[in-house]
Symmetry: C2
Subunit: 310 residues, 2 copies
């Protein structure tokens, strides 16, 4: 891509339009994106990444908006990335929901962007961790990563954050529901948002009880009550994030190695998937689909034959 | 594996212990599992697969339990598969929740099993669709597939069902939340469970309104109100599933081709991921992790070098 070098230079100089273009390159995931990552990765490592997850409807968007305000009040800049199950159906809804965040666009210290959770070739997009690399490199001290869904893939994404915040509600269901969704063990901080609703104390107590059962680690996840729409509890949440940040930075680098290993493995899987797609011709695939539909072969044997691996 | 042939024969003869062993083979995903699938796939195609998803706490487990009762009342057999974010933390919770279903174990016409959503090597397990192949082959006319999370990966799993049921609650948040989670476009039937709670009518109206916006298909998804704990609305749900089943069977086989194509692609990605793991030595990986942690190379370039693909 002509001009990629100058885009990189401009983005590193703080040009937000250049940054937006780089993130689009990252989403496309082609050869250019490799060059972007190769350049940016060496310049990063300074950002603290905050992952925010929780069931739909828990109030994550409002919480992220207020958290951005909290961070901006300290004078620091912040980027917010929404990982979004991009669908024609949901596009409008999310856009509407993002308007609040867009009001902050006039504040040059905030950068907000949503990214598709589904890759162009189907399956999960691995674009979010790559976008974090770019936002880190251009100098944001804080990057917030918000996921819309709560599934295994989303949990994997927020697990890559330095501090993972799980957002629940009073009366949303008891902590067993959080356990079932695999949310209890990934949270470094738990937020019970909409704290003005019935059942706050029971939810907090229940959550603390469940967390105590899994308490075999150096960090005891705090439970913070918030009313994000009114800004209540946000300074407590920000303080908890700061405390966890200090805790993480004080640790040895075992988690950095684990994270690097995970990223290399994920990248290898991604490369191999592209290789598979390149190896299989459309014509061969069409023929095999016919065999599978008529049950003369199973899909797994079909894939082996197509790849020449059987 | 010695005795695999006789396990297959016994399972096809209706032996439930043999079936359980075969599903364990499938979960392991080794060479034996390929043989199981190759044998079973050709014998399947008769089952109607019902996917059940929705946010944690919506009451899916109870609903599935009651739906099993509804199906059993017709005399038909049914298998229920729970796709479970297997974690040490959540294991106990889920087990507790499953006890109700286990009560049905004395009923030989019901087979219930939970499967890990995370593969042994990390990432998503693709075991659920394979387990469906086996349950189909041994003759269950209905297979229910329930996911605990609502994320992209879980949505992918339930999309493979013939009939997808999305379970929500009144006051859970409006339909915008469902849209954000990508649930609106995958549902063939919507259930508003816990219909005795406040906000039922508003939730149903809101949902119908959102669904009408996306109404460009031959099937208009009905919205069914249930109180699963009391069995209310279950016969309506069962009737809606029957209507959708008739609708699907009356269609041309376009969806079968789409499904086969998706399964072949997923199988190819799985094979290639295993190939990547085989290609990379632990020693080389350890060395590269060190380079990535010190930011001398980015994870994506590191993976390319390890695979010899760069």
């Amino acid at each position: 891509m002509p001009g990629l070098e100058s885009l990189l230079t401009s983005a590193l100089d703080g040009d937000r339009r250049a940054l937006a273009k780089l993130l689009t390159v990252i989403e496309r995931g082609d050869q250019d994106s490799k060059q972007v990552l190769a350049t940016m990765y060496g310049r990063g490592g300074g950002a603290h990444v905050i992952g925010i997850t929780g069931p739909p409807g828990a109030g994550k968007s409002t919480l992220v908006d207020r958290l951005v305000g909290e961070i901006r009040a300290t004078g620091d800049e912040v980027a917010a990335l929404l990982v979004d199950p991009s669908s024609p159906f949901s596009g409008g809804a999310i856009l509407g929901d993002r308007i609040r965040m867009q009001d902050r666009v006039s504040d040059a210290g905030v950068y907000a962007r949503s990214m598709a959770s589904r890759g162009q070739l189907g399956g999960m997009s691995r674009a979010a961790p790559k976008a974090v690399v770019v936002l880190d490199a251009v100098g944001f001290p804080y990057v917030i990563l918000e996921t819309v869904g709560v599934g295994q893939a989303e949990v994997d994404i927020v697990e890559s954050a330095h501090t993972t915040v799980v957002v629940l509600n009073p009366g949303w269901g008891d902590s067993i529901q959080a356990a079932k969704a695999g949310l209890l063990e990934i949270g470094d901080i738990f937020v019970v948002n909409k704290a003005d609703r019935d059942g706050l104390e029971a939810s907090v107590a229940d959550l603390k009880h469940m967390l105590a059962e899994g308490a075999d680690r150096e960090w005891s996840p705090p439970v913070v009550a918030t009313i994000a729409t009114e800004g209540n509890g946000l300074s407590e949440l920000w303080a908890a994030i700061g405390a966890h940040r200090d805790h993480v930075r004080g640790q040895d680098d075992g988690s950095a190695h684990l994270h690097a290993r995970r990223e290399i493995r994920a990248a290898a899987a991604e490369i191999m998937t592209l290789e598979a797609q390149a190896r299989i011709s459309q014509e061969d695939l069409d023929g095999m689909v016919e065999e599978v539909v008529t049950r003369r072969i199973d899909p797994w044997s079909a894939a082996e034959r197509l790849l020449g691996a059987g």
